[in-house]
């Protein structure tokens, strides 16, 4: 009986010792946490540079149209950051707070924007504001903007060129006036 008992016990102990490292060196448990990042829409825009000034007066020759001189003939720069879903695009719209005096028209044209991402495409030829412009009407000058950042350097972003010209269609209504200030507002809008 004693010999049988010894025979039974030793193999069982040996088996447990052999299995122990294999079983308990493995995975004991797993657990999970969640990480969620919500990147929300961003629409930020600014315009850099100086105010644009024009004077109208004089003629190159008798009977010719008056000359329009730009005293600050340098572009301003639109700098913007846009974050949108991949299914959406934006545009840059400009609006004036008043119409241009009769006999004149103001052309506003964006150049090719710099920057990272979908900075958009300028509207060819830009837009014109004349004497019939209804205040606060949006006029689109850049389209197809997706998620982007134009940069903030002095000449980064979209250059905007301003040209004041004689509007021959309404020239007969041109009057001598005092200085008129028109404020332009640029906005990132959905498109």
């Amino acid at each position: 009986m004693i010999r049988k008992s010894t025979f039974l016990t030793i193999p069982v102990v040996a088996l447990v010792l052999a299995l122990s490292p294999m079983v308990f060196a493995d995975e004991v448990a797993t657990s999970t946490i969640d990480v969620a990042i919500d990147v929300t829409a961003v629409a930020a825009i600014t315009v850099t540079g100086t105010n644009q000034s024009f004077t109208v007066g004089g003629s190159p020759a008798a009977g010719a149209l008056p000359i329009v001189n730009a005293t600050a003939n340098v572009p301003t720069y639109l700098q913007y950051t846009s974050v949108v879903p991949t299914t959406e695009t934006r545009a840059v719209a400009v609006q004036a707070d008043a119409a241009v005096p009769a006999g004149l028209k103001l052309n506003i044209r964006a150049g090719t924007p710099t920057g990272d991402g979908g900075v958009g495409t300028p509207v060819a030829g830009g837009v014109s504001i004349g004497s019939t412009y209804v205040g606060a009407t949006d006029l689109t000058i850049i389209t197809g903007i997706t998620s982007c950042a134009t940069g903030t350097g002095a000449t980064q972003g979209a250059p905007v060129y301003y040209t004041l010209a004689i509007d021959e269609a309404t020239f007969s209504n041109l009057e001598t006036t005092t200085t008129q200030t028109i404020t332009l507002t640029f906005t990132l809008v959905g498109s």
Binding site: K4, L8, V12, F24, V28, A29, I37, T81, V83, S147
Partner: protein
């Protein structure tokens, strides 16, 4: 023979009871919910988004329990499971506290990028509670677009 076989069974049970880690377990709590928006611009309009964000130092808490001995060793590994992720982002994790308890803890004090395969974050012995972990997100840019990104961090406790 049946009577004499009982000491064998008792010996087996004793070995199982004394075997390290038989009841080792852990709990992981917390997480990280981050919102990135206009206030995270790196500068004025035209600038990009700040690329790097950190959670609170105690965003995740780990408790390891059930060790019968203070010397009972264990290892915690981590890996990432993408739910809706962007490959340009890097998610990292680091241990920010020693936790409490009679055991020991080491490793994990420097940020470790979370990959899709398990990697050791830290290891230790015995029972430790309130081990604090911090997450860091890097690589955020406007090119990600407006969307919700989600991932899971899977913790695995190994009895080593």
């Amino acid at each position: 023979m049946r009577i004499l076989a009982r000491p064998s069974c008792i010996a087996l049970l004793a070995l199982l009871a004394a075997s390290p880690g038989h009841a080792l377990s852990f709990t992981v709590s917390g997480g990280w919910s981050l919102t990135v928006g206009t206030s995270d611009l790196a500068g004025p309009a035209g600038s990009g988004l700040e690329p790097q964000y950190q959670s609170a130092a105690n965003a995740v808490l780990v408790d390891i329990s059930g060790a019968l001995l203070d010397t009972e060793p264990w290892t915690v590994t981590i890996h990432r499971v993408d739910v809706s992720w962007d490959g340009s982002l890097s998610l990292s994790m680091a241990r920010t506290s020693e936790g409490l308890g009679a055991g020991s803890i080491s490793g994990g004090l420097t940020l470790q990028p979370l990959t899709l395969t398990a990697q050791t974050l830290f290891q230790g012995t015995g029972n430790r509670s309130s081990i604090q972990l911090q997450l860091e997100l890097d690589g955020v840019s406007v090119s990600i677009g407006s969307r919700i990104l989600a991932a899971q961090v899977v913790f695995t406790l190994l009895d080593t």
